[in-house]
């Protein structure tokens, strides 16, 4: 343990349950593999603050930076610096535009795949028709915007009887998401569904729908963790949660970092401990398929 590697695991924002789960598993991976994991990130969705943190990590002299960029291009200048310093860079959760800046991308699935999957599941509950709304985090959040965009495009192409009537930001604040859902129900009496593409949105929407006594009448699905979704799935105000395992993603990110630092390689079909079999396409390491969480299987998940 003389030559212990230091790996900086940088999420988009600390304090969000999603990334906190990655933190727990990532730290566990560090213990399993015998390397030090530093988990740190901006407290708000400020892309420049994330760049500052990367810069400080370079100064600190970590061996590898594993980052989930808040903004695909805003982070590039500092990653360039890191590369010049000989620090290994990998991305996880979301990617940078200039892929030459990082060695690998630990991917859950692409924004397009998730967006389309979200819409497929949502549309099934909607019966492929009716008015619906999307609640996103802040208007400037890139991944959420992309999911919403692909979902909407998929709907336009495949479900002509559905119409998106609103696209509202909740600023990642659950009380705001709650109020917005209520406002949407007033503004669009024909509203048939709410799709939340940021984790605070689906539970808050489900709560508002439940209180209005519209369980089942208004469909609620979206990106949310099992633990947050559980009670709403059970009382019927939320139909389904679609997500991958953020913990395993964190674990895989650290595992990949360690493997690359050791000079190794992750290969297609490799069975990563704790994570399972992974798929490798070029420099993308793709974890597993998406989880569709419903009342039946909600208790199987520990995040």
């Amino acid at each position: 343990a003389e030559e212990e590697y230091t790996i900086a695991l940088i999420p988009q924002q600390v304090g969000i349950p999603y990334f906190e789960t990655s933190n727990v598993w990532g730290t566990k991976a560090g213990e399993d593999l015998g390397c030090e994991v530093i988990y740190t990130g901006p407290t708000s969705g400020d892309a420049a603050a994330q760049a500052n943190i990367v810069q400080d990590m370079i100064t600190k002299g970590v061996d590898c930076i594993a980052i989930s960029p808040l903004d695909a291009s805003a982070i590039e200048p500092v990653l360039k610096q890191a590369k010049e310093e000989g620090i290994k860079v990998i991305t996880w959760d979301s990617d940078v535009t200039d892929t030459s800046l990082r060695e690998a991308y630990v991917n859950c699935c692409s924004e397009k795949v998730l967006g389309e999957h979200l819409m497929q599941r949502f549309a099934e509950y909607m019966g492929e028709e009716g008015e619906y709304a999307i609640i996103t985090s802040v208007l400037t959040a890139q991944n959420c915007s992309a999911w919403a965009k692909y979902a909407t495009e998929y709907q336009e192409a495949n479900y002509p009887n559905m119409t998106r009537v609103a696209y509202e930001p909740c600023d990642d604040d659950q009380s705001k998401a709650y109020a917005i859902t209520q406002n949407l129900m007033t503004a669009y009496p024909e509203l048939k569904g709410v799709l939340g593409v940021t984790t605070p949105a689906p539970p808050a929407a489900a709560q508002a729908v439940g209180e209005a006594g519209k369980n089942g009448e208004i469909v609620v699905t979206g990106v949310v963790e099992a633990s947050a979704a559980k009670s709403y799935l059970e009382d019927g105000s939320m139909q389904e949660a679609n997500i991958w395992h953020p913990g395993k993603l964190g674990y895989l990110a650290v595992y990949t970092a360690k493997t690359l630092l050791d000079g190794g390689e992750i290969t297609d079909g490799m069975d990563v401990p704790e994570v399972g079999v992974v798929e490798v396409k070029d420099d993308q390491i793709i974890m597993t398929e998406l989880l569709d969480i419903t009342t039946e299987n909600v208790d199987d998940f520990d995040f």
């Binding site: 400020d46 810069q55 600190k60 890139q142």
Partner: protein, 321 residues
């Protein structure tokens, strides 16, 4: 000691003490802290906030406030981002973005100086307005694809020093001279002390207020463009997170929130203190949540400590004489 006491005010000494203390903590806790590259990157990181805080200092000295500073920066960033990606040259883009800043500042000044809405409230309204404008312009997207010719502002180094650091110090010196040695500077202090007496002295208070608010917006614009260049992206929410830290730094630096006194040096030291706290915590690997706690504590501690010494001094004197 006596000499020191004559040269510097009490607050300046307390502030310097706090600065040195944190500096020492940094130096002791991580060997990288004192490395040239860390110091340089520290300056690189703080320059945007520092420039915005200097702009705010001017407005606060006039007895005003600009809560819209953060979103002004975002709006200017988006403006120049759009211009640059639409293929306009660097210079025209910068000029248009500065023009927007002047408009923002003028809008604040109209509300404050002409309609005479209390600055806090006026700029609370424009804060949302500017953010809204930036969102409308950018559709909420982050604007990437900034041409490399624009990178000089936030990424270039001159004699090994980041350009924005030189810019920060250049602007600091410019503003110091402006406040101390020019008529406008004197008028800014006079207005902050006593608006009515200033008016009666023939100071064109409205002009000075316009100047101050526009100056503040222009500073925000410079900060915004530096950031656009540094991260090669423009986003509507740039700078929004800066505001409270900047105001805290101005206050920590000894500028009275009621106007009339204070200065640029204090503000720069205040920003440095906050930047060092963040830097040290990152280097040591402490969760960012502690930063918030530390920032708030430092502000309260320094202000209270300073005040306690002041009260002590007063008591002792009145007993002795």
């Amino acid at each position: 000691m006596e000499k020191l006491r004559k040269r510097f005010t009490l607050h300046e000494m307390v502030l310097a003490g706090a600065f040195l203390l944190i500096f020492l903590i940094g130096a002791c806790s991580n060997e990288n802290f004192l490395s040239i590259r860390n110091i340089l990157s520290l300056f690189q990181q703080m320059s945007e906030m520092g420039i915005m805080a200097m702009g705010l200092t001017i407005v606060i000295i006039t007895g005003g406030m600009d809560l819209s500073a953060g979103t002004t920066m975002g709006l200017c960033a988006v403006t120049s981002g759009l211009c640059l990606t639409k293929g306009l040259g660097v210079v025209p883009s910068l000029i248009i973005s500065l023009g927007v800043a002047v408009l923002c500042g003028a809008m604040n000044a109209v509300l404050v100086a002409i309609i005479r809405i209390p600055p806090m409230i006026a700029t609370l309204g424009t804060q949302m307005f500017f953010l809204g404008a930036a969102l409308v312009l950018s559709k909420g997207n982050s604007i990437s694809g900034i041409p490399e010719s624009f990178y000089f502002l936030g990424q270039a180094k001159i004699f090994g020093m980041p350009l924005q650091m030189l810019l920060l110090f250049g602007l600091a010196i410019f503003l110091m001279i402006m406040l101390r040695n020019t008529v406008t500077g004197q008028h800014i202090y006079a207005i902050g002390n006593n608006m009515k007496a200033a008016l009666f002295s023939g100071i064109r208070t409205k002009h000075v207020l316009f100047y101050s608010y526009i100056m503040c917006s222009v500073m925000c614009c410079i900060a915004g463009n530096i950031q656009v260049s540094r991260v090669a992206t423009a986003r509507a929410d740039m700078g929004s997170a800066f505001l409270m830290t900047c105001i805290s730094a101005v206050v920590l630096g000894g500028t009275s929130i009621n106007g009339g006194n204070g200065g640029i040096v204090g503000t720069v030291v205040g920003i440095m203190i906050f930047a060092m706290i963040g830097n040290i915590m990152n280097l040591v690997g402490i969760s960012s949540f502690w930063q918030q706690l530390a920032t708030g504590s430092i502000l309260v501690l320094v202000v209270v400590f300073n005040r306690m010494i002041e009260m002590q001094k007063y008591k002792v004197k009145s007993r002795k004489v």
